[in-house]
Chain length 278, copies 3
């Protein structure tokens, strides 16, 4: 967390814009022997999702899906974190114009990921709270490296609220009752718990094993015609995708009003103070 601390002490935005304009590789893409594309999140220290990183991820997904690939394995280049979720610096003392752009970019990212035509599986090789969990559950399949990593929508623990579309994707994955309880308590599930409630589909011994299992999932579609598969996926996910498409402005408005609240800013301030101390 020391890098996060250092980031806090730097003027916000500058670093980010620089890293974006210089096309720093925050997202690494490579195609492996079997025709599967590995998309790896590499925004140290914790793959937090800010405006530029979300833009880069969305662009990458849209480019890869046009190429000749069997599917995507989404993973992290960092050793212990899949993604820490939304970048709190986008919410703390926000510039409303940038903050609005941040949120609509998050919506774009999710609409692209959740509605991706080709197979995509998450090789979760580290912690995956909040927006990191959303990213994982928006893929088609999840393999979590067994160990101390946890995953879940823990927003209530930070005094914030997972948006309706985060919640709905979560409910679709583990069912309403388990989702309600976990959302209220902000539960971060261990690997074994995640497997037993269906939050992930398989456990893996390490990152290579997780990627191999994700590739196996993608290769399960080798003999399945893509047209019917895609129509099936988009049909199943149509309600959720359409809801956000039809409610983008209202959803953004709720978020902006939320981050403008002094109570939320005070909560974020406290949280950031606690990170600095670490």
């Amino acid at each position: 967390m020391s890098m996060l601390m250092r980031k806090l002490l730097k003027p916000q935005g500058n670093l980010i814009l620089k890293s974006f304009s210089s096309q720093a590789k925050s997202v690494e893409v490579q195609q492996n022997d079997t025709g599967v594309t590995i998309v790896s999140m590499a925004r140290a220290p914790v793959n937090s999702l800010n405006l530029e990183f979300l833009t880069e991820l969305t662009t990458t997904l849209n480019e890869v899906k046009k190429q000749k690939t069997k599917g995507i394995v989404l993973t992290s280049s960092l050793p212990t974190i899949f993604s820490a979720g939304l970048d709190i610096m986008e919410m703390y003392k926000p510039d409303i114009s940038r903050c609005t752009q941040f949120w609509t970019t998050l919506q774009d990212f999710w609409l692209t990921l959740y509605g991706l035509e080709i197979p995509i599986a998450a090789a979760i090789n580290g912690a995956s709270p909040a927006g990191g969990c959303l990213t994982a559950i928006s893929c088609e399949y999840r393999v979590l490296v067994d160990g101390k990593h946890t995953i879940g929508l823990n927003e209530t623990k930070l005094g914030i609220v997972a948006p309706k579309w985060f919640q709905d994707a979560f409910i679709s994955t583990i069912g309403y009752r388990k989702a309600e309880l976990a959302l209220l308590q902000g539960t971060l599930f261990s690997a074994q718990e995640s497997l037993s409630i269906g939050l992930v589909d398989e456990l893996a011994t390490d990152k290579a094993d997780a990627i191999a299992k994700c590739e196996k999932y993608i290769n399960s579609f080798a003999k399945i015609p893509g047209g019917g598969r895609t129509a099936t996926k988009l049909g199943l996910r149509n309600n959720a995708l359409t809801w956000l498409k039809n409610n983008r402005e209202k959803d953004t408005e709720i978020f902006i009003n939320f981050v403008k609240s002094p109570k939320v800013q005070a909560g974020l301030e406290l949280y950031l103070q606690s990170l600095k101390k670490k």
Copy 2:
């Protein structure tokens, strides 16, 4: 059941109104050491939900939530019954004006309970059929005392129909398929079955243990800011709450037409005869 029998032989309404106007303690409230409020249903013999009892319960919930409390444990003061559900005397040979008021009061009770901002858990220390089950599943968490007590929406066994909002809360708790089967058969689940299908979250050895486990649930929110928690709960339950708010009149009309039916009255008559014989 002999008290129920005696009640049947008394003029309906009088007893009830007296017990309400005299502020008899049908609902007992006490705050324990840990800042949790115990709300205990004490309408002998079976905590059946009539107009006055529902009014008292609703008033109690609304008053307690305004006080400084960590949350509510809802339980029963009776030794073997959590709640027997809706008071059949409100449906048998009904005065339509009172019956309409009864139903709208039930709706108010449920809207208050299901949408309660603060944590609420049910320590189910006895049988919990029909409306008793609805009451339990409308809390956030359920602990059932292990033993011979059963819980479920058994309306079809009485020849009646669980209203749509009873059904939807049930489906949210145990999933559609298990709910459909149980609703058709009017299944009353044993403690072990309830736990295995998720109708309750934990079992307890006795009432004190059930209350302790409910308190532990409520204390799990000690470090979770109330604002985000409440917004999360109301967001998740918004569809169900809004449905009833938007359909109160129609829902009442369906109920009134239902109880006016000679077939239903004949069924209730038979049921009451069977109780008298016990």
Copy 3:
């Protein structure tokens, strides 16, 4: 499969119309000692659902429900197949007029089956892919003969798409997440898998055992008044039934456009070639 091959070489339609006009017993009906009606699909070789067979099944269900019966056990007269699903010959090189009639008849069949007032259970004594699986999951209860028979919505494997109402009935049975994964992969579940995910309610040692278990299910309603039971069932299934009733024309249009596509015709041609080789 040799009979299927022979059928392919005959002029389409003639054989079918003859078998219909001659009232060949493609559906066998018998009432057993306990007052339960056994409806047995007997359209060799694989109980594939074509226009005439669907018409006969729908008529049978409507007639049986008017008679004095406790309920229906739906099974197959064939030794290894419950139903192979929709008859591919209705989709291959289709006459659009007949094809439209085929699809609306399928809709009628499903509206009748899924909304059947009386208890109906499936004794699944053989393979049950695609439309065969839809038929089974549209009953109230499923008992599968243990062994090598599989069941599932495997449409994507044939390059086609299970319609929204197939998918919704599937989701209602096994939950969204398991349904999504199975629909994408076109999974055919083994008996043990089907039981563990709730796709079937019980396994049986043979057909007689499956029928006995279905009868037991139907007899579980012996003391449950029919009125409340039926209202409960139709209430629970109302959303799904109403959706199709309100979207019949659009649903038909989607299907017709689908079968008219050269890509789909090429896929069906390949599939039929592969059957001929067997």
